[in-house]
Symmetry: C2
Subunit: 438 residues, 2 copies
Amino acid sequence: MNIPQTSYPRVVIIGGGFGGIALAKKLAKQEMQVVLLDKHNYHTFQPLLYQVSTGGLEPDSIAYPIRKILSKYPNFYFRLAMVKGVDSEKNTLDTDIGPLKYDYLVLATGSTTNFFGNKEIEANSMIMKTVPEALNLRSLILENFEEALLTDSMDRQDALMNFVIVGAGPTGVELAGALAEIKRGILPKDYPDLDTRRAQINIVQSGDKLLKGMSEKASEKAEDYLEELGVNVWKNTRVTSYDGDLVTTNTDLTFHTATLIWAAGVKGETIKGIDGKDSITFSNRIKVNDYNQVEGFKNIFAIGDIACMVSDDFPAGHPMVAQVAIQQGTHLGVNLVAFLEDEKVMKPFVYKDKGTMATVGRNKAVVDMPKFKFQGVFAWFVWMFVHLFFLIGFRNRVVVFINWVYNYIRFDREARLIIRPYKKEKTKVVKMNAVKTE
Amino acid sequence: MNIPQTSYPRVVIIGGGFGGIALAKKLAKQEMQVVLLDKHNYHTFQPLLYQVSTGGLEPDSIAYPIRKILSKYPNFYFRLAMVKGVDSEKNTLDTDIGPLKYDYLVLATGSTTNFFGNKEIEANSMIMKTVPEALNLRSLILENFEEALLTDSMDRQDALMNFVIVGAGPTGVELAGALAEIKRGILPKDYPDLDTRRAQINIVQSGDKLLKGMSEKASEKAEDYLEELGVNVWKNTRVTSYDGDLVTTNTDLTFHTATLIWAAGVKGETIKGIDGKDSITFSNRIKVNDYNQVEGFKNIFAIGDIACMVSDDFPAGHPMVAQVAIQQGTHLGVNLVAFLEDEKVMKPFVYKDKGTMATVGRNKAVVDMPKFKFQGVFAWFVWMFVHLFFLIGFRNRVVVFINWVYNYIRFDREARLIIRPYKKEKTKVVKMNAVKTE
């Protein structure tokens, strides 16, 4: 990898998400050599991916080059790499660009979509955890309407204009709201020769409330907002299969749809070598102690979604959200500096819950702060302000802000471009695999 | 295609570039049914593609949904389609979404890259005529530097950091200037552990001047600017082969490079059925009379790059630039309305040359107006103003303007994101083809 050996201890961080970046910023000023590995050369602001999917934002304005975030630190090295495994005895990583020795290893690999073992749903549904995935969904939504114009079958047309979102966490709720606004504001203008009133947006949730983990009030209000926008909300319903057209559930409810978006769960993105049964716990996350040290290892740490730190307040670990990752990254930064001097001075991590929020549509958001909870226009402004604040990069903030103002005034989302068609690409890959398996 | 038959005559326009859009805007208000076909659902502002390739702009801000441009016209229909051929006897088009009858047909298919028959160069070089192509180039440039960090071979490292641009028209010159600015302003910060001073930008031109078609003064000044920026300018040199590493020319000059960008020529994008020997002339363009009528056809017209209208002033047809396409589109709009009433009242097209311009870098541009010519800072401001003016969409203009201001103040280009890796994708396709041909 051409990274020089220095007298400084080498800390390798896997993953440039919220946790990895927060940690790298802390460490890169210290007497350590910090190596960050990521499979993308940019940090993704995941909370706004749904706006990329729905044509409200450019992908470039919610992504930020990792090299640029950390270019001012002399001891920092970035490598574009996919990590294949860890050899914890030899303190070595195996990656697609060669092996790498570490003195300290931090797993900040985040989480991946959890299909709970359902291969059929995995093969046929859309997900939205990365920029390319969000762009695939954007392409597919638009391609569906283009195709709907061409078909003479009413059934097929309905399936193409029917969107089923599984999972009513923030991602599912925000996406449902955005699609409902597109149905109302954009489809009738863009497709005057199509009866877009027949377009349907469905959100299906296995539990009995939306936005699990938020307050009763927030959950109820979010449901009201979605219904005002014309979204069909299905609670206490579990999707059991999807073959690319028919969705079945554990109730009598079925749908015909060309687009099922799976936002029903995430699981820790583990790495070979640290994925023994002893290390893994709820949601495929890695057990860590109060110092984010992976159980059974002295020089391996884990932060953010991948880490499960069990405590009295969080018996199943902290929520898998950006705030936890950022706070653990920053905290581990302080701890690691202390650890290198004397391992006893590490301080246990304590999560400061700054609140949770979700937006459903224009002027419609819900905010739960530790002290007070509110909904509506003010919550919506708070949501926007907080997201702009946490976005990395001044230019990104300005561009996102301009887009929001424009979209708000004009009831519009102009980035409805099929830059890389998704259906064709999928067919090509399927064909390719078919050829291979012959 | 589910387009209703009405009592209005149906005009089918193939291509949503500058010409097609200008024409559609004119006709869609008239008593005609206008059908526009394009293989993308967006209009591309091609003059700024090089800024997408070099990370200065988002693709979404130089593309604009075609449906939105024309959504207010009731007689307008858009279909996302690839046209396969024309049956001029039956007045029918063959497309990938089915056949389509026309009363009047307008070819506005533009131009495609001309490799002058060199298959090897075509297989190994990068081009930049569409948004996906510009993004592929962006990815490749960044992937090259990531790879250069990893290799121990100095030769390979030099090849990865060597860029060879073939063709010194506006595209080649503008790209060379942008790459030179990246070398100077961004590479040393992003890749501190790489000796980026060794990066080379070469521009190779078969003729003896840059920006052929512009004034002597503009051409000389552009060359000065490029040299100031550290670009190697090679005139009177014709690239003869490129195997993915070695570039040979008709002189002793050779290069080792991982990236050859071919901007050396374009040719008309003809369509089966209107590509007989009688219809085709210089640069694979279609012969039209003074009314943009394709020779030999009464109800088929051609505008823009694809059309070759020979006159005393333009013995080889008009230049293949946006201005000609826009003027011909608008003019044909007026002519077609007249033609439908009485074919004799059509007026011959006369090109009003509004000037030509190219930008090389910050504060460095050249402008040739019919009455006066100027270069430098003022030319650079004029270039920016004109490009913002012709860009479609208020939001796009604001976002592009913000990016330019930011990039100017910060000497930066933040969209250096590898969203769809190019090398991997290419390898996949090559493998796929290999499997197929076995």
